[in-house]
Symmetry: C2
């Protein structure tokens, strides 16, 4: 007897939609998503699509109408509830386009719950394009299977971030001047956490003093090599996920 | 009394050169490196430059002649011996340009000793551009302070890689079908190691069987989200460095 093929197949397109989803809901798709489904994926009536809305989880839907510029998908049933994401914030100084987009993409894939752009003295990008960062996180969520998008905070100055820092949230900051080995520090301090990474050029000595003065702050080291800002962000996030997250 | 300023200053350019370095050696610089030093960094006679050759460590040199298209640097003295790099290989299936370049850059920054392009059934890039990958690793080494470049192996088919796998080298492979949590598996198996990451689309079930049959193989998991190939490579490398490397 042949094994029943998995349904929906692995090749099923998976999309984030703003519309809240529910049983039998009709979801209108247009713009880039319509081009992707109709033009690129050659979706036909009856073909499956996985949808998630960042609120109600992941749902299986079927194409009920397919046109070149717009489609209608009809929701069949819920596949998964919205997941619980590990309670990790990534507080990162904006860096140049491309590298900061990559931070947003990797933060989502690696499982970060919240991305906070932090403005520091050596930050050269004062106004990160939040729409673009969010688009990168959505694409990463569609690809990595997340049903919950990372939240994206408004850019905040370092002093303001630290001024009302929640005491119960560990603040692991990549300290170029040396600190506790990252994995050791993170295993020793489970629970809500945040990773703070400076811009290219790092924090100023004065900024490091202000960070260290924060009771929740724990200086960590990521080894003897000088990591680029985006590498430090991804590496510290991976180490936290392995030490205190859901890996 | 004013503190003596650090010498050489943090802004000192740092370059890899093919010429073996020694005391008082005169090093001729041309091409892109000359443009960078003379045109971009506006180097003047007497200005310091840090050089490393992947053989003898890092040396302080001074510009003794500066022209637009070529310079002569004179080596003053050795700053550091060539470092010992953690004994980690990264065996990664080539993926599309941009993402594979990024793997080479991050592998160098994170401290990998050897990068091995592995050809698998779902690998879509059969001939990765090794010169381009090496250029990305050199640039990363200049930036992150390495005095030893990662070695870059010729692309090898998965079966051939496993056929003569050194028994004493742990082979941690990212197993989409589930495995031991990465940090736990890596702490339990210190010593020479390798990380094996598949292409987009992962290993085939048949390939996973062949890998598992390798006595040194340990299937690891990097959490519940589906990581892109390059994300898995960087994340597994960071977790290994924290668990068994020099972090």
């Amino acid at each position: 007897m042949a094994a029943t093929p998995a349904w929906p197949p692995d090749s099923t397109p998976r999309l984030f939609v703003e519309t809240p989803l529910s049983d039998a809901a009709a979801v209108a798709i247009d713009g880039g998503q319509a081009h992707y489904l109709a033009g690129v994926m050659r979706l036909k009536v009856g073909d499956p699509v996985l949808l998630f809305d960042d609120k109600t989880g992941e749902w299986l839907a079927e194409a009920s109408e397919v046109r070149k510029r717009d489609l209608t998908l009809t929701v069949a049933h819920r596949m998964r509830e919205r997941e619980a994401v590990p309670d990790l914030w990534l507080c990162a100084a904006p860096i140049k386009k491309g590298r900061i987009d990559w931070v947003a993409e990797k933060a989502c894939e690696l499982g970060v719950d919240r991305l906070v752009p932090v403005l520091t003295q050596r930050t050269i990008v004062d106004r990160p394009n939040l729409d673009r960062l969010r688009a990168h996180m959505i694409e990463a969520a569609e690809q990595c299977g997340r049903t919950a998008l990372p939240s994206l905070a408004e850019p905040v100055k370092l002093a303001a971030l630290l001024a009302d820092w929640p005491a119960e949230r560990a603040l692991f900051f990549a300290d170029e001047s040396g600190g506790v080995p990252a994995a050791e520090a993170m295993r020793a301090r489970p629970g809500p956490a945040a990773i703070l990474v400076g811009p290219e050029g790092g924090f100023t000595p004065a900024e490091r003093e202000v960070i260290r003065a924060c009771p929740a702050a724990v200086g960590i080291t990521l080894g003897p090599r000088i990591l680029r800002a985006e590498t430090a962000a991804a590496a510290a996030t991976a180490v936290w996920m392995a030490a205190a997250g859901d890996w």
